[in-house]
């Protein structure tokens, strides 16, 4: 799956600034796998019946809580395998998020969102935009800091972090101001009641969808209840979209056509989702 994610990134990337942030996520994924293995070796539960991977001197620390704590010792192959599998799972999730953020063009995302979901869409797109923007700004600030000389201690850190954060926030504010100055967020001719209704519907939709997915993942026993909640969420979503995308509020002038790549992505996404469902239900 990670390989798939990497391949997609490699095929679809362009020269936009946010596209380069995948390296950062790769690095993060690597760290996670490494940490998992290190922890497994250090906080080792020795089991004599398993194949030995590496044998290290055992350290016992008595914390005065009855049992003493054993560190290191004989590490079995199986525990290392388990650590690697765990680590790679987490790394795959991190990479997938990284892929989304390095490929998804936040501005296109915002453009494609229907009317009243704007408030949420803005928050999401700013959040997605944040990491790549931080990285871009980090580069500039680090170069500039080289002109100031090396500060000692905590100041060397704040010297990078503060200008980067200020810069990122300023950029986001500038984009928000520009969007507002050009009509973004207009209520148009909707009444206060309609606006309230849309807000409530949006909130309910999101709640149903999140709770449904969470139930499916954490308590697979009551599968029909989970499915009901998710289907209700999807129906609500349809209703909310209908309610909020009234033509009198906005014109869609630029129509984004479906391309083969989009189709492949959606189909493979649905297939993976079905496979996951299958796995959950067959337990």
């Amino acid at each position: 799956m990670s390989a798939g994610a990497m391949l997609t990134v490699w095929l679809c990337r362009d020269d936009a600034p946010w596209s380069r942030s995948i390296r950062f996520y790769l690095f993060l994924g690597g760290i996670v796998v490494l940490l998992r293995v290190i922890f497994r070796v250090v906080f080792n539960l020795a089991d004599a019946n398993q194949d030995v991977f590496i044998s290290l001197p055992s350290i016992s620390i008595d914390l005065g809580l009855g049992n003493s704590l054993h560190l290191l010792g004989i590490v079995s192959v199986i525990s290392i395998q388990a650590a690697l599998v765990d680590g790679f799972q987490l790394a795959a999730i991190i990479l997938s998020i990284g892929m989304a953020s390095s490929l998804a063009n936040p501005r296109k995302l915002l453009r494609a969102t229907p009317g009243a979901l704007y408030e949420i869409a803005t928050a999401v797109s700013i959040a997605i935009n944040l990491a790549p923007q931080l990285i871009a700004s980090l580069k500039l600030v680090r170069r500039a800091r080289g002109l100031r000389g090396h500060s000692k201690g905590i100041k060397s850190l704040t010297g990078i972090i503060i200008p980067v954060l200020e810069d990122t926030i300023e950029q986001s504010m500038q984009l928000a101001a520009s969007m507002s100055a050009r009509g973004f967020g207009r209520k148009g001719n909707r009444t206060q009641l309609q606006l309230q209704l849309i807000r409530v519907a949006t909130f309910l939709t999101l709640t149903f969808l999140t709770v449904g997915v969470a139930m499916l993942l954490f308590s697979p026993a009551e599968q029909y209840l989970d499915l009901t909640v998710i289907v209700a969420g999807i129906v609500l979503a349809g209703f909310t979209l209908k309610l909020s995308s009234s033509r009198t509020i906005r014109t869609t002038y630029i129509i984004q056509r479906w391309q083969i790549a989009d189709l492949v992505i959606v189909v493979s996404g649905v297939l993976i989702l079905l496979a996951a469902f299958n796995g959950v239900f067959s337990k």
Partner: protein, 531 residues
């Protein structure tokens, strides 16, 4: 069309009280007619931007602060309305269009506002056609915004602001990041918009001399809360921001003052004044030598095989259009920027191979984004940090800063300093390092004439202290004032290395205003004129 009555605006401090005793804008009254082309000017930090932002609701909605009075547009009071409720009436373009773009493709960017306002597809079609024709964007509609030049980007931003049908256009220093050609292009266009389309254009601008001849009236934001509006000739009594051509007229007692180069040429011919020769410093010791330096980013070559020598006791200006490689060359010479090949020779070796601290003892630099060097919470902390860092007696940096910027409350947050004060602060942090070479990248961006004169004086003193200054800039008048030598960079190659007296002379591509007006060999800056 726009009528402002008793408009008062104050920023608030953390406790929710007005920041200063006098409001930023105090009881402003003025009227702007349809099709009027208005220049908004005033000293650095006087509140020009704030004034423009009050006209479309960005202030106070995005800046914070309190506003009172009346803002009548077509006789409806919009005081305090959100910017999106005004977007069909007022268009807004800011200094850096790339930070404000909401799309990636030119066409998407232009129609954004029309989509938000639910304008019909047919109407959008015809508006796009009309605007792209007028602004010369027909060939570019499908291009990615990132591939456009600064001037083209600014034209896209103007089209995007006008597609909503707005008849008022606010522009906050739209040409400050553009080279001469790009700036002239944008300014000519604004004049046509006002004349032919009846759009009221309000333009905040530092390059007063380029626009003063074509505007109908001038609004001055004085900085003490007062804002006045009048004919161009009546508005320039304040020398802090009077452009060279007006200053020349005032010095020679012209009445009425000349507003355009042509008028000034006529008046000068009638009674030319005597002038003194410009003193160019003789180069001192060779302090830095650049050998076959190349910089490329991926497939783009920014600087091509360049060699040059910098001497002590000399101010060298590095000029050239946007994208000609000035910034890349500065960073590469300083030693912390990208270099593809080539080397830099100094007495202590190549700055690139030295540690950060050792490098800074040879080459220091004030980058374009000077504020990136500031990171502490108060001016006092920044000054003190600099003393500790350089192992100099406490107060050394503070003394330097005071010489540059005057007395300033040291508890202020560095981000609250004006552009000119921030520049002075970063400059003093760099001067303390006492390096023989100082590089400045576009230091006059956002400075008024008074602040520029102060900077020029400081650079003069540095030169007298045998330092070598490399100054990358678009600012012709500033180069005329300070430079001993001019390098012109074009497409990554140095095409000219000569005296300012020949590069900035009348008839040249980079002619200074005074040279153009007087057409006299050896006369390029107002400081030379005697009366």
């Amino acid at each position: 069309m726009i009528e402002i009555k008793n408009l008062t605006f104050s920023y608030l401090n953390a406790e929710g009280k007005p920041k200063a005793e006098v409001p930023q804008l105090n009881r402003v009254n003025l009227t702007i007619e349809p099709g009027e082309f208005v220049l908004v000017c005033g000293p650095t930090g006087s509140g020009k931007s704030t004034f423009l932002k009050t006209l479309n609701g960005l202030a106070p909605n995005f800046t914070g602060g309190v506003i009172t009075g009346e803002l009548l547009i077509n006789s409806v009071n919009y005081l305090g309305a959100e910017p999106h409720e005004l977007s069909h009436l007022v268009g807004y373009v800011n200094q850096q269009p790339e930070g404000a773009f909401v799309a990636d493709i030119v066409l998407d960017e232009i129609v954004y506002s029309a989509e938000q306002l639910a304008i019909s597809r047919e109407q959008i079609d015809s508006d796009v056609e009309r605007l792209s024709k007028m602004l010369g964007l027909e060939e570019l509609l499908k291009s990615p915004l990132s591939t456009l030049s600064g001037g083209q980007q600014q034209r896209v931003a103007i089209a995007a602001a006008l597609i909503s049908g707005a008849k008022v256009l606010l522009l906050d220093e739209p040409t400050s990041a553009l080279d001469l050609e790009g700036a002239t292009e944008v300014l000519n266009l604004l004049q046509r918009l006002a004349r032919e389309e009846g759009v009221s254009v309000l333009l905040a601008e530092h390059r007063i001399s380029r626009v003063i001849g074509s505007v109908d009236s001038v609004i001055v934001v004085h900085g003490d809360g007062s804002v006045t509006m009048g004919k161009p000739a009546e508005q320039f009594n304040d020398a802090r921001f009077a452009p060279p051509i007006i200053e020349l007229g005032q010095q020679l007692g012209w009445n009425p003052l000349a507003m355009t180069t042509k008028q000034a040429q006529g008046l000068w011919k009638q009674a030319p004044s005597a002038f003194k020769e410009k003193q160019l410093n003789q180069p001192g010791d060779r302090v830095l030598e650049v050998i076959d330096l190349e910089v490329s980013f991926g497939s783009i070559s920014a600087v091509k095989k360049t060699s040059l020598t910098l001497f002590g006791n000399q101010i060298t200006a590095l000029m050239g259009e946007n994208g000609s490689g000035k910034t890349s060359l500065c960073w590469a010479i300083q030693g912390s920027g990208t270099r593809t090949s080539g080397s830099v020779k100094t007495n202590s070796g190549d700055p690139k191979n030295l540690s950060v601290q050792d490098r800074l003892s040879i080459t220091t630099m004030v980058p374009q984004r000077a504020a990136d060097l500031l990171f502490l919470n108060s001016l006092a902390d920044e000054l003190q940090e600099s003393d500790t860092l350089e192992n100099v007696p406490a107060g050394t940096t503070a003394n330097l800063f005071q010489k540059l910027a005057g007395r300033i409350d040291s508890s202020i947050h560095p981000r609250d300093l004006s552009a000119g004060q921030q520049l002075s602060l970063v400059l003093s942090l760099q001067l303390v390092k006492n390096a023989p070479v100082l590089i400045l990248d576009e230091p006059t961006r956002g400075l008024d004439y008074a602040a520029k004169r102060a900077l020029a004086k400081q650079l003069d003193q540095l030169r007298d202290a045998k330092r070598s200054v490399l100054l990358a800039t678009h600012d012709i008048e500033f180069v005329a004032m300070v430079a001993d030598r001019v390098l012109v960079l074009k497409d990554g190659v140095i095409v000219e290395d000569a005296s300012p007296l020949s590069v900035l002379a009348s008839g040249q591509e980079l002619a200074s205003q005074i040279a153009e007006v007087t057409n006299q060999a050896g006369l390029i800056t107002i400081g030379q004129v005697l009366n």
